[in-house]
Symmetry: C3
Subunit: 350 residues, 3 copies
């Protein structure tokens, strides 16, 4: 189950960040389906099959109009419902003239898309940020396009022991501290959760410089996985000894939403949205001290893409689990249950 | 039938323009077959299977000799008949030593190749230019290598409503003028024909500048499709009102041969040869004012390649015809009949 | 049998030159298997499956440790035996935690790898250089990565008539001299051998300049093929007439080991190691006069890659042998026998 063998259809996914559809049409393949995500001139956001029903041209090569989108080849227009609203040179519209439309919603920094039966789309099920307070928790976001399964990205986040190796020159703690980490894993209705605490651990150099909390710290990561492809991360660090006194503020304070949208079975879009609780103590011009997140995630991206290549055609049942896989294994189980539920739902709906 | 599911073999195709084989060997795949097109040192043009019968090296990596071509690997020589004429180091030539030879002919600016049974090649069936008068109709030609089916290129030319959208910034008329165009479509023994007239239409900016025939024009396009892959285009424009008075001269006057040679099922070479009847009124150094044709066709090329990607594996029977497809639909029928005839001919010949 | 349809497993292959594994881990696919070749910090050379048994990450992205290699993803360590020696965060090592290990040996300038049953690996069967005397026969080596079957590289070397065509501007003799060459071919227990002599032949321009042996030379090539993929070359040239007097020294004197390691069915690594017996007569700073070998072999590489493309999916039984194929045909027979023996050995071992 390392490679996703099936996608969950009945879920909201991040289709794009709002800035990606500002003033332009965005072509993006999601769950193997070519989709154009756009904003009409009137401001409505839409997501349509990116293939004109007339001659198959990508609608994303066209342009936004008042209430929809116009194909750049022969000028057919479509509303956000996918129904053709205008055919040049003729008054009537053929009844079959439509493209598939996907339910969308704008929430936070993103356009969300529902890939299941449109009748069952409910925006209440769109995941919340771990924190949504731009004043006290200013945030940044970015997206990486990875040639790796979305499952591999999730798995990467579920086993933080990799920080001591893959990220040893950036955010990693020492391998000894990592080995001594206390792990607490539990299932949730929607997925699972782990709390990983490293007490009296070496502080990364960047922490010492920024937070002035000394060379020894208590460091924790609280990760909540919500199937199929979301992780809410609550991470922090305080002076060594303060964690067990209940101190959570004053040092490293990060709350990140990781949303990984499958493109194909072996590629994905990795959206991350990181809120920083310490930035409010800093002058605004220091804000970039916490913005190197993309560089760290590019270290992951490189490794994941090479891992994907090595697993192509490989029987992954031969791989060997170790102790640090405890959260990853629970995550995979939760995902498999979600896939199973989704397939039952699809089967019963037909 | 959007994608060509079969090629017509019993046809002449443009293999290359003469300048492409001037002083060099040209490797080109036609109808999925690797072919070398060349001129011997004695001046004869030949087209051979681009694979030496000895070790399979491409003959196109060799060089022309007096009566043929020499393989650049071990020196075998072949005449334009494909029969091996020299083997280094031995007096006798193995009887099996030959490569496939294709009938060729030089006509106009091109080397033409016959892809059917050589016994049935008749140069009389090579298509004529719409006009062949380099003094009064000076002409230019170019070729684009497209990752799109040759059928898509034909279809593009059969529905000129795309000019108002894809070429709106270059040669397109307004979408209103386009919608009001008068279309007359008819079948011919070899294909079909359409005459498209826009009366009292807005003149493109480039026309106003070049022809000085005012802002309102009568504009016509007479397109003759000759199966499998040729279009003779006669286009023109005069002052509004003059068309019905029989005026055809003094403004826009273009006669183009479009010859689209399939490379594979999803790629082709698009040769166009455009004669301009107005250029004779202009100083020779103004001749480039009508030479931006390649730029316009590159707009088509980009769209066609993206369209091809979107239709990969797609059931094209789901596409919806509109009124402006009237000529395209007739063209496809004529092509299908030609493919059917070709296959019957091949079957009876075996 | 032009394309290798099977690889010989029970053979030593050149895995890498020693300089390729100096201070870095080398990822290389051999016989379709991804392998990391490395030197531990203690100096031992190892070759392991380049796929961590934990999550499939390439071990070549990790780093060397004292007695092995450490995965760069989650820190597992493996000795050169392939057995996992350390798992971060746990004292015990899962019994299944190991990767495939390949027997290796260092000999001459290379790391050699045994691709067969490790129990049958015997370093005595590693091929010797044609000469191993760095004082009197200083040598250079290089490697080319070719998108062509290793068999095609062997075949190239077995038919030296190509020198007059493919290398006519570098090392080739005239086609007349080549056609008049005397060829003597014989089988050996491990492969075959040919001696090719051109008497009173034109000397290449580079020879005339370097050796000062005149414009007419006797020139010979003694090639010994050792299955599956080695050629020992002994080549030389002296003044015309001297060869039959037994003179072998004073002019062109080259002894080369060609070792071609299959990567996939249609790609390989071509290692060549050329010793020059004339260099000792020259000032050391003239040594580069005999070092353009890579440039010549790149002429071969280009042709072979194009040949490979032309033979993709082609029925090579249609190709026609000529007289100059005499050695090549014997080589192929010897290789086929070696493949047959290898397969019998594998079958009996199971």
């Amino acid at each position: 189950m390392t490679d996703a063998t099936a996608f969950v259809r009945s879920s909201w996914y991040v289709a794009a960040s709002l800035d990606e559809v500002s003033g332009k049409l965005l072509a993006r393949t999601i769950l193997n389906e070519p989709i154009v995500i756009f904003r009409t001139l009137n401001g409505e956001v839409g997501a349509l099959e990116d293939r004109c029903c007339h001659r198959g041209a990508p609608l994303s090569l066209g342009e936004a109009v008042a209430d929809g989108i116009r194909c750049g080849y022969h000028g057919l227009e479509f509303g956000t419902s996918g129904i053709c609203s205008f055919v040049p040179g003729q008054p009537n519209i053929p009844s079959r003239a439509r493209v598939r439309s996907y339910p969308v919603a704008v929430k936070g920094d993103y356009v969300w898309i529902w890939m299941g039966d449109p009748a069952t789309a409910d925006t209440c099920s769109i995941i919340d940020y771990p924190v949504d307070d731009k004043v006290n928790w200013p945030r940044i976001h970015d997206v990486l396009h990875l040639k790796a399964s979305y499952v591999m990205v999730l798995e990467n986040l579920m086993d933080l022991s990799h920080l001591s190796y893959l990220h040893k020159n950036s955010i990693g703690s020492s391998s000894e501290d990592s080995a001594n980490a206390n792990m607490d894993v539990s299932r949730t209705p929607d997925g699972m959760r782990f709390l990983r605490i490293m007490r009296d651990a070496d502080a990364p150099a960047t922490w010492q410089k920024r937070y002035k909390i000394g060379a020894k710290v208590d460091r924790w990561s609280d990760f909540e996985y919500v199937a199929p492809c979301f992780i809410k991360q609550y991470s922090g660090g305080v002076r060594a000894g303060e964690y067990d006194q209940g101190v959570r503020e004053g040092g490293h304070q990060v709350r990140t939403l990781h949303a990984i949208t499958p493109e194909t079975e072996t590629s994905c879009f990795y959206f991350f949205n990181k809120a920083d609780g310490y930035a409010k103590y800093e002058p605004a011009d220091l804000v970039r001290t916490w913005a190197s997140t993309t560089d760290v995630f590019k270290e992951d991206a490189f490794m994941l893409e090479q891992q994907q290549l090595r697993l192509k055609g490989y029987d992954t049942s031969k791989l060997v689990n170790i102790k640090s896989d405890v959260a990853r294994v629970q995550m995979i189980r939760a995902l498999q249950e979600r896939i199973r539920r989704d397939q039952e739902q699809l089967a019963s709906g037909q």
